[in-house]
């Protein structure tokens, strides 16, 4: 869809009509509050964090509506269970807990008399070989993008997610890839993160770009993929919908046991 938007932009340039944007008031009904679980276990110590919160009304502020007092546990297949400690309202952590590649983990959250369960498989590690930048001219502007190179292992389904920081500031957007059309290939991929402000470029010469690569399981990929299609508020999907969650009992959010690596590069 992003590609089609570039064509639409071209159509508007060629036919000299300008689309105009206006902030409008939309009267939105209030819905019952829903529980949100944002749970991550990584292959590194200090990476385990579970955030429990609830939905807010559209016109409320964006601050995190944490729910304290929940009982949050993560168990491995052999039944070793770790209880996470609440470090601030709604944030639960187990600094020493890290996952093993190929192992399945079960998350259990008990709050408000309800129990929510999810399982996630920590994939094998696929090494991020390198990160480099390229310059690309899109219409009149020259943009800098980060690129990643890694070798996808053949014969197994792999799913990846990338997060980009520019001088420590997280770039907006969701970037996930799978090897559905690329099994066993050497990936050399441009991370198309765009500035949400037309007047400011996302990456300028001299900026330090940090790329985080996550190896995730199929359910987590589905979560981010469906969020990108339907719930970020920006796209033109026919039917916006909640992302497909791997947590039961109607909770929003996801639980991912993921392999995390980072690399840095300075834009020339």
């Amino acid at each position: 869809m992003r590609y089609l938007l570039s064509i639409l932009a071209l159509v508007s340039i060629v036919f000299a009509f300008s689309s105009c944007e206006k902030v409008i008031d939309v009267k939105l009904d209030q819905a019952d509050k829903k529980i949100v679980i944002d749970a991550v276990l990584t292959d590194q110590a200090g990476g385990c964090q579970v955030k429990v919160s609830q939905t807010k009304n559209f016109n409320d502020d964006n601050s995190f509506a944490g729910i304290g007092g929940a009982v949050v546990t993560i168990a491995d297949a052999s039944g070793n269970t770790t209880t996470l400690n609440e470090t601030s309202a709604g944030v639960y952590e187990a600094p020493a807990l890290k996952g093993q590649n190929g192992a399945t983990y079960r998350l259990k959250v008990v709050t408000g008399g309800q129990t929510y369960n999810a399982t996630s498989l920590m994939p094998q590690k696929v090494t991020l070989d390198s990160v480099y930048t390229t310059k690309m001219k899109m219409f009149q502007d020259e943009e800098i993008f980060a690129n990643v190179i890694f070798q996808d292992p053949a014969g197994v389904k792999n799913f990846y997610r990338f997060i980009q920081y520019v001088n420590g500031k997280r770039s907006k957007g969701i970037f996930v890839m799978d090897d559905d059309l690329s099994d066993g290939k050497l990936f050399n991929s441009t991370l198309y993160f765009f500035s949400d402000d037309n007047d400011i470029k996302l990456i300028n010469p001299g900026d330090v770009i940090t790329v985080e690569m996550q190896c995730i399981d199929a359910a987590t990929y589905k979560y981010w993929f469906s969020m990108d299609q339907g719930a970020t508020g920006t796209n033109r999907s026919a039917s916006p919908a909640n992302p497909v969650s791997n947590i039961d009992n109607g909770a929003l959010g996801y639980f991912s046991a993921q392999v995390v690596q980072r690399k840095q590069v300075t834009a020339p």
């Binding site: 105009c20 939309v26 819905a31 690129n147 508020g233 026919a238």
Partner: protein, 768 residues
């Protein structure tokens, strides 16, 4: 079997003879469709789609009247003792116009015909309606009629009586056109210069049509002038057009070639910043016809259109998308005798798109195609003055290539192809127009459709969770499954006084080709898929009733129709479906359900006079219920619109100037807005509850037009056409999205995007 009965009683009455033949235009030899042939208070009929008529009369003296819109009416006095052929050419009215006269601008609706829910427009009628960029567009014009709804700015999709955009059977000289849009939907593929007329069936489809649920758009191309050479053309803001037609052998054969191309990309090439981008479309219509004698006529017509769009990324080609339709129709009319007419058609139809991505390490193409080979035969038998029977069959072989990726070896993307899908669609039909009494007409018919899914390839069983649980392998040519459906078609009209009638109809339609889309606007990459062992044929049943009245001495025409329609086996994507999956089991991404739609349509048309035009109003409701969506509850379809109004007016100021205006208003589309929001991984995510529970703001727009005839003689004419699209600059919502406030990320806001504000245009047209 009522018609057999009436055949049997004919000999008992006065001796009957049949008059038959073909009506044409004297000026250019074009056959006249829907022209009236009648003997006052004795009998009357209309010419068929090839200009053929057959009229049963008692032997003796008669004065036969032959008339058509824009033509001089002719009377022929005959003394009939045996079956007789009368071929006639009618003279054009308009050429002899020395002053502005009150003439009929559009064909009257037949009060007596049993056909309900039909709209017809000619290229002539839409000529003056103001349009975006001055591109006359017959497909946009019909969207100003009740029950036919435009999908909105920047979208050529249309919704007929609550049906989806893929439920319209769009036929160009009988060939199905799978994507009728140019430039992401800003324009339609039909170059109005090549089009003779368009007929839209919103309900009560005659049995010769089938394969789509909602509507039939039957578009006929001009045949080509077989009297004189004609060159006409125009230069507009975005495109240039040229039309050449003329006789190959006078009176016997003619040709027509019409081409159109946008040229804005020429200016792109001249700029440094955009020189690698491209953006254009072109189309070409061509037709030849040959009269082999009194009884045979052959037509060969073709359409070819292409869009090429490319947004370059740096020196790389970037993102490109090309798509196009190609159709070819070979037809043979044969007149056995004055009562028996036959048409045989071979039709080829192709639609494909190709996406190319070349950027950095990526260099690959995605290709998809649907192709039809189609054979049709229809016999029209004018049995008596009370019965007119049509029987026929249609056989189509579909080949679908859902998706093929090609790339170089050095690439991150591997070459692969989804299984080709083959299917064979057959139908037989019979339909009879029975004049049960002088003021009662009944059309009854049936269409039997059989859709066979053919191997080879794998077919699947999918569980409720969307996982493949079984795979069945079929060899090439093996029958996987055949869906047989019986489609009754019934219609009746009762003309209870000379100026009013009531009509009612029932129709069942089935559809075995489905367009799967996950975006709000139609996109060239929306996927056509055929029914499979799991994807069942879509079925619709529609009842419509109508009241028709001619007012003010036939100056005005009032139509009021109501309909109720149910739809089975409707298809939607699951949440989070991957459209470009390498999986052959598309069923894993789909959900099924049903739909219903009902409404009231009112049309008041002024056909004659300096001021002509119409007011159309639709009140309607369209809902869907799909298991797995919206908690399995009924929800508003996106195209559900409570009110839809269009006012179209053309005013002939004087010989030189014609002014026109149209105004549309409709309730905003049903849409899903967030019920709340939350934070995940540091980003704002929106929380949704009910599907399509909100409305876009109401859409309204005024367009103005003016045409100035610079010169008009018998030999040549030229004119300037001006238009102003969206005259009062209403910022209609193209989309509404939600985001964090830029300068204050702790809050969120809704943003409306509008595409057009005042688009003026000018075009120059000539003809000699």
């Amino acid at each position: 079997m009522a018609f057999l009965f009436s055949v049997a009683v004919v000999p008992a009455m006065a001796q009957k003879v049949t008059v038959g033949g073909t009506l044409k235009s004297k000026a250019n030899g074009e056959t006249l469709i829907g022209a009236t042939v009648k003997v006052e208070s004795v009998a009357g009929t209309l010419t068929n789609e090839y200009g053929f008529y057959s009229l049963s009369l008692p032997a003796g003296k008669h004065k036969i009247e032959m008339s058509s819109v824009g033509m001089q009416t002719q009377y022929i006095e005959v003394d009939l003792s045996k079956d007789t052929t009368i071929n006639l050419a009618l003279s054009d009215n308009s050429r002899d116009l020395q002053e502005v006269t009150i003439t009929e601008t559009s064909k009257g609706r037949s009060l007596s015909s049993a056909q309900t829910s039909v709209e017809r427009l000619t290229a002539q009628e839409i000529k003056n309606i103001p349009v975006l960029f001055g591109e006359k567009d017959i497909l946009k014009a019909i969207q100003l009629l009740p029950g036919i709804k435009a999908a909105g700015d920047g979208n050529s999709g249309m919704f007929v009586r609550g049906g989806a955009a893929d439920q319209n059977l769009i036929l160009l000289d009988e060939a199905p056109v799978y994507n009728a849009s140019h430039l992401l939907g800003f324009f339609s593929t039909f170059n109005s210069d090549a089009v003779k007329d368009i007929t839209v069936y919103k309900g009560g489809m005659p049995a010769q049509y089938g394969g789509r649920l909602s509507s039939v758009l039957d578009i006929k191309m001009n045949d080509g002038n077989n009297q004189d050479f004609d060159v006409s053309g125009g230069i507009g803001l975005i495109s240039a057009k040229l039309n050449v037609e003329g006789p190959i052998q006078k009176d016997k054969s003619s040709f027509l070639i019409t081409g159109r191309r946008t040229y804005a990309d020429v200016f792109l090439k001249a700029t440094d910043d955009y020189k690698n981008n491209s953006l254009y479309f072109y189309d070409l219509n061509a037709k030849v016809n040959y009269t082999l004698g009194e009884k045979d006529r052959i037509y060969l017509s073709g359409y070819f259109g292409k869009d090429k769009l490319k947004a370059a990324f740096g020196d790389d080609d970037g993102f490109g998308i090309n798509w196009g339709n190609a159709t070819a129709t070979l037809r043979w009319n044969h007149i056995f005798n004055n009562k028996l007419f036959s048409n045989t058609s071979f039709i080829f139809s192709n639609y494909n798109y190709k996406i190319s991505i070349k950027s950095g390490a990526y260099d690959f193409n995605i290709f998809s195609q649907i192709q039809d080979l189609n054979l049709k035969e229809e016999i029209q038998w004018y049995i008596s003055d009370r019965n007119n029977l049509k029987i026929g069959f249609n056989s189509i072989y579909h080949t679908i290539r859902p998706g093929e990726v090609t790339s170089g070896d050095e690439n991150s993307i591997g070459s692969q192809a989804l299984q080709k899908r083959y299917s064979w669609e057959n139908a037989v039909y019979a339909t009879n127009n029975w004049k049960a009494a002088d003021n009662l007409n009944i059309t009854y018919g049936v269409r039997v459709s059989a859709f066979s899914i053919l191997g080879g390839g794998n077919f699947y069983d999918v569980n409720a969770g969307g996982e493949v649980v079984d795979t069945f392998k079929y060899n090439s040519g093996q029958f996987v499954k055949t869906y047989v459906n019986l489609e009754p078609r019934l219609a009746a009209s009762w003309q209870f006084n000379p100026t009013s009638s009531v009509k009612a109809s029932f129709v069942r339609n089935t559809q075995n080709l489905h367009l799967i889309s996950n975006s709000t606007s139609s996109s060239p990459t929306d996927k056509w898929i055929a029914s499979t062992n799991l994807i069942k044929p879509e079925i619709s049943d529609q009842v419509s009733v109508g009241y028709y009245k001619n007012l003010g001495g036939n100056k005005y025409e009032l139509t009021v129709e109501a309909y109720y329609k149910t739809m089975q086996n409707q298809i939607d994507y699951r949440d989070g479906a991957n459209v470009f999956s390498s999986s052959n089991a598309i069923e894993t991404e789909l959900l099924y359900g049903k739909g219903r739609s009902y409404g009231l349509e009112v049309l008041l048309k002024k056909k004659v006079g300096r001021l002509s035009g119409w007011i159309s109003y639709t009140l309607s409701k369209t809902e869907r219920q799909i298991d797995g969506i919206n908690n399995n509850e009924w929800y508003n379809a996106r195209q559900d619109r409570t009110h839809d109004i269009a006012i179209v007016a053309t005013y002939q100021l004087n010989k030189k100037w014609t002014l026109s205006a149209n105004w549309v208003y409709y309730t905003g589309d049903a849409i899903t807005f967030p019920a709340g929001k939350y934070q995940v991984d540091g980003q704002t995510v929106y929380y949704y509850t009910k599907r399509n529970d909100y409305r876009m703001p109401a859409y309204h727009r005024l367009d103005l037009g003016a045409t100035c005839k610079l010169k008009e003689t018998k030999k040549w004419s030229h004119e300037l056409a001006f238009s102003l699209f969206n005259a009062y600059g209403r910022e209609n919502a193209y989309t509404i999205y939600f985001r964090d406030v830029k300068n204050d990320p702790t809050r969120t806001e809704a943003v409306k995007v509008a595409l057009f504000k005042f688009i003026p245009s000018i075009s120059y047209n000539f003809k000699f």
